[in-house]
C-alpha cells in the first residue's frame, strides 16, 4: 500500500523531474543545435543510469516510487523520443531516425546494466 505522503512525494518529484528535463534539454540544444535530438538522448541516458543504480542498490519500495517513478519518470521520456523520431522520418533523415532509435536502446540497456551493477556494489 502507498500512503498519502508517498503520493504527494511522487507528484512533487515528478514535477521537479519534468522541470529538470526541460532545463537539461534546453541547455544541450543551445550548445549543440542540429537535427539530431541530443537533449532527449542525454536526459534519457542519464536518467536510465540513475534508475539502474536505485534498482541495483535495492532501495525501499517507497524510495523507488518517489525517486524512480516520480523524479526519474518525470525526467526521462518515451513520448518525446518517439515524436522526435517521427519528425526525423518525416523530414527524410532516415539515418538520424535509425541512429536515434538504436543508440537510445543499446546505450540505454547498457547504462541500465552499468547502473545496476554499480548500485549493487555500493549497497
Amino acid at each position: 500500500m502507498v500512503g498519502a505522503l508517498t503520493w504527494a512525494g511522487i507528484a512533487v518529484f515528478g514535477a521537479l523531474g519534468a522541470v529538470a528535463r526541460f532545463r537539461v534539454d534546453e541547455a544541450v540544444s543551445a550548445r549543440r543545435p542540429g537535427e539530431f535530438p541530443l537533449g532527449t538522448l542525454v536526459v534519457n541516458l542519464t536518467g536510465t543510469f540513475c534508475l539502474g543504480l536505485l534498482v541495483g542498490a535495492a532501495v525501499s519500495h517507497r524510495l523507488l516510487l518517489v525517486a524512480g517513478t516520480g523524479f526519474l519518470g518525470g525526467y526521462t521520456t518515451f513520448s518525446t523520443w518517439m515524436v522526435e523520431s517521427e519528425r526525423l522520418g518525416e523530414s527524410g533523415d532516415v539515418l538520424l531516425l535509425v541512429a536515434n532509435l538504436w543508440l537510445s536502446l543499446i546505450l540505454g540497456v547498457g547504462l541500465a546494466a552499468l547502473g545496476w551493477h554499480v548500485g549493487r556494489a555500493l549497497a
Partner: protein, 135 residues
C-alpha cells in the same frame, strides 16, 4: 514586467510543474494497479508509454499546425503531462531486468514491440491531428 503578473517563462514553468505532477501520479497509479511478476510483460509502462506517444504526436502537431501558438498548452500537456506519464528509464531498466533474470527473449520482444508500436502510434497521432476537424 508589471508587478503581480507572471512572465511567460514563469507561466511555462508553472505549466510544466502542474503537468509533470499529474503525469507522474497517473503513471505511479497505473504501476500500482498493474504490478507485473518477475518474467512478466511490464503492462503499466507499456500502456503509459504508448498512450503518451499517441497523445504527444497528436498534441504537438495540432498545436503547431492547427491552432495559434499558446504559452501554456505545450508545456502543460506536452513537456509536463505526456513527458512525465511516459518513461524511458523504467522501460530500459525493465528490459535489463528481464534479460538479467533469464528472460532475454521476452526482454528483446518488449523492447522492439514498444518502439515499433510507439512509432506507429506517434505517426497515428500526427495523422489524426492533420485529418481532424478544428475541435
Amino acid at each position: 514586467m508589471p508587478a503581480g503578473r507572471l512572465s511567460i517563462s514563469q507561466v511555462r514553468l508553472a505549466a510544466i510543474v502542474a503537468g509533470g505532477a499529474a503525469g507522474a501520479l497517473a503513471r505511479a497509479g497505473l504501476a500500482e494497479a498493474l504490478p507485473h511478476a518477475a518474467g512478466g510483460w511490464p503492462w503499466a509502462t507499456f500502456i503509459a508509454n504508448l498512450a503518451g506517444a499517441l497523445f504527444l504526436g497528436w498534441l504537438l502537431t495540432r498545436l503547431a499546425e492547427r491552432v495559434a501558438p499558446t504559452t501554456h498548452w505545450r508545456p502543460l500537456l506536452g513537456t509536463g503531462l505526456a513527458g512525465a506519464l511516459t518513461t524511458f528509464s523504467t522501460f530500459q531498466v525493465e528490459i535489463f531486468t528481464l534479460m538479467h533474470d533469464g528472460h532475454g527473449g521476452l526482454g528483446i520482444a518488449y523492447a522492439l514491440t514498444s518502439v515499433a508500436a510507439g512509432m506507429a502510434l506517434a505517426v497515428a497521432g500526427v495523422v489524426a491531428a492533420r485529418w481532424g476537424r478544428r475541435w
